[in-house]
């Protein structure tokens, strides 16, 4: 299976990082060429968690395939489901009721916060600080509890269905979300105290893994990775879906291009998500939470593409339909895949510690990359 990896022709040391490595967060396998501690080449070997979700979806109906997508980027499962539901709605021309749109957006933003919280903890752990992980999980658990109450599951909710959402929100939902906002506002400054302001952390992050705007666009990076290099690419602003055009929020952009810029983007994005939720939570309109749809969904012949902004960037769903009950071909343009491809450019010339730091700020979720 694996070739004998020792040194290459130039006498550089080659080292396997992963698939079981504490910093690769899953089963990413990087073959790194090292000159001393300096990285010369990073070559990702993927596929350890490849389940061929695209092939699986070809045999599932339009109602069924949505649940599989929760297993791609499991940290933003809601948003993945949202993208798929939206694509089916686009094909069927289903009008989603206002209540469902509000619920969807609130859920998306909660998911985004939960995802960023986990990223914050895991990235701090990569840099050797273990305590933040537990502190971030305290807030994340609250979100998971809210999800559990309304959707019935904590991680892979399968709450979005074509035409709306599966259940109406739980009666406690609004109260608990408001409680969470209070908790978040009380605790968020601790994050800065623990990590953001820390001189060691700043030295580890500043000037590390610098990406230019051209590089980022050429590599198709999206989300905080692209915005950290000053590229405006937030799908919520560029192609607003659901009620994102009705709420006020800023697209967070930093121009540093280094790891610290990407870090700041995510921290500020959490604040923006809170802002969106605050605007929506009291104004959820009455009405149906689901549009009336036929029992069997059949997309007309054609091609449909929808995109959403997940916590990691732009997720595109490309459905080719032959008019049947199952998609003929489905392609998920996952943000992690493009973000991973830039890793070599990012880490080249740096130290191993820099690779860990910049990989942490890419926020890779391996099932999202392998699909």
């Amino acid at each position: 299976m694996f070739e004998e990896i020792g040194t290459n022709a130039e006498g550089d040391m080659m080292i396997n990082m992963g698939p079981q490595h504490p910093a690769t967060h899953g089963v990413l396998h990087l073959v790194i060429t090292l000159n001393g501690e300096t990285i010369k080449k990073v070559d990702p070997h993927l596929g350890y968690i490849h389940r061929s979700i695209e092939k699986m979806c070809e045999s599932l109906t339009y109602r069924q395939f949505i649940y599989v997508t929760s297993r791609m980027d499991y940290l933003s499962a809601h948003i993945n489901n949202h993208a798929c539901a939206m694509c089916v709605e686009k094909g069927m021309q289903i009008e989603v009721p206002g209540r469902a749109q509000y619920i969807r957006v609130i859920m998306d933003e909660l998911t985004r916060i939960a995802s960023h919280e986990l990223w914050w903890g895991a990235m701090s752990m990569d840099l050797g600080a273990f305590t933040p992980f537990f502190h971030s999980f305290r807030e994340r658990e609250t979100i998971n509890d809210i999800m559990e109450e309304t959707c019935g599951a904590r991680l892979t909710m399968n709450y979005m269905v074509p035409g709306g959402v599966m259940n109406d929100i739980h009666p406690n939902f609004q109260r608990r979300v408001k409680e969470f906002i209070q908790l978040y506002k009380r605790k968020i400054h601790e994050y800065d105290e623990l990590i953001t302001g820390n001189v060691i952390f700043q030295n580890r992050m500043k000037g590390v893994g610098v990406l230019t705007a051209e590089q980022v666009i050429s590599y198709g990076c999206t989300g905080p990775v692209a915005r950290g290099s000053g590229v405006s690419c937030d799908v919520r602003k560029w192609w607003p879906y659901e009620v994102y055009d009705k709420v006020e929020f800023n697209e967070v952009i930093e121009t540093g291009g280094d790891s610290f810029a990407r870090y700041l983007i995510r921290m500020k994005e959490m604040d923006q998500s809170i802002r969106i939720i605050e605007q929506l939570i009291d104004n959820i309109p009455d009405g149906d939470f689901q549009a009336k749809t036929k029992a069997v969904l059949k997309l007309p012949k054609g091609e449909f593409y929808s995109k959403v902004e997940t916590a990691r960037g732009e997720l595109g769903v490309y459905i080719v339909s032959e008019g049947g009950t199952t998609p003929y071909r489905i392609k998920f343009r996952s943000p992690g895949f493009s973000n991973l491809s830039i890793l070599h450019d990012m880490a080249k010339g740096g130290k191993i510690g820099d690779l860990i730091a910049s990989m942490g700020t890419l926020d890779l979720v391996i099932p999202d990359i392998d699909r």
């Binding site: 599932l60 109906t61 109602r63 069924q64 395939f65 649940y67 599989v68 305590t131 305290r138 658990e141 559990e148 109450e149 309304t150 959707c151 019935g152 599951a153 892979t156 399968n158 269905v161 599966m166 259940n167 739980h170 601790e190 105290e193 623990l194 990590i195 302001g197 820390n198 001189v199 060691i200 700043q202």
Partner: protein
């Protein structure tokens, strides 16, 4: 000037470290903030929301009757082939043949708790139970038959 910047750097760095240490000392001394849940000791006090998707069950009433008509809507809705409906024909008192379920086989090991079968069921015969401790020593025990032995369909459910 170089020296002032140097000194400022050192003091700024020490201050930022001090701020972090103050925060951790706070948690070190404030044990009320501890969030550990001592599962499984807290089984009695643990609260699972009523919508929690644990496993699919078929509620029976005290007369050992269920609401399943054997329409296979759940089987069709399931993305994983988790549910298999085995039907039989019963002779009603009027002498007519009527379709009824023999067994509703449920493979917990294949189930992803996506809730699609519950949504699809026209007669509310199945629902999600709030259990989650599914570990068993033998994989075969995960294949369950949801209807009780000898149960029959409730009157008035079509």
């Amino acid at each position: 000037m170089f020296i002032t910047k140097y000194i400022k750097d050192v003091f700024g760095a020490l201050k930022s470290l001090g701020v972090g240490m103050k925060r951790t000392l706070y948690y070190f001394t404030h044990h009320k903030e501890i969030i550990t849940e001592q599962y499984p000791d807290n089984r009695e006090t643990m609260h699972l929301p009523e919508r929690f998707k644990g496993e699919v069950v078929m509620p029976h009433d005290e007369k050992n009757e269920h609401r399943c008509t054997g329409c296979t809507a759940c089987e069709l809705a399931c993305p994983n082939g988790t549910i298999k409906v085995v039907t039989k024909f019963e002779i009603t008192p009027e002498g007519k043949k009527k379709k009824a379920i023999d067994k509703l086989v449920y493979h917990l090991e294949l189930c992803t708790m996506c809730n699609l079968c519950i949504v699809a069921c026209p007669s509310d015969a199945i629902k999600m139970a709030q259990t989650f401790e599914h570990s068993v020593y033998d994989r075969n025990e995960l294949t369950k038959i949801l209807n009780n032995p000898g149960s029959k369909i409730m009157d008035g459910v079509e």
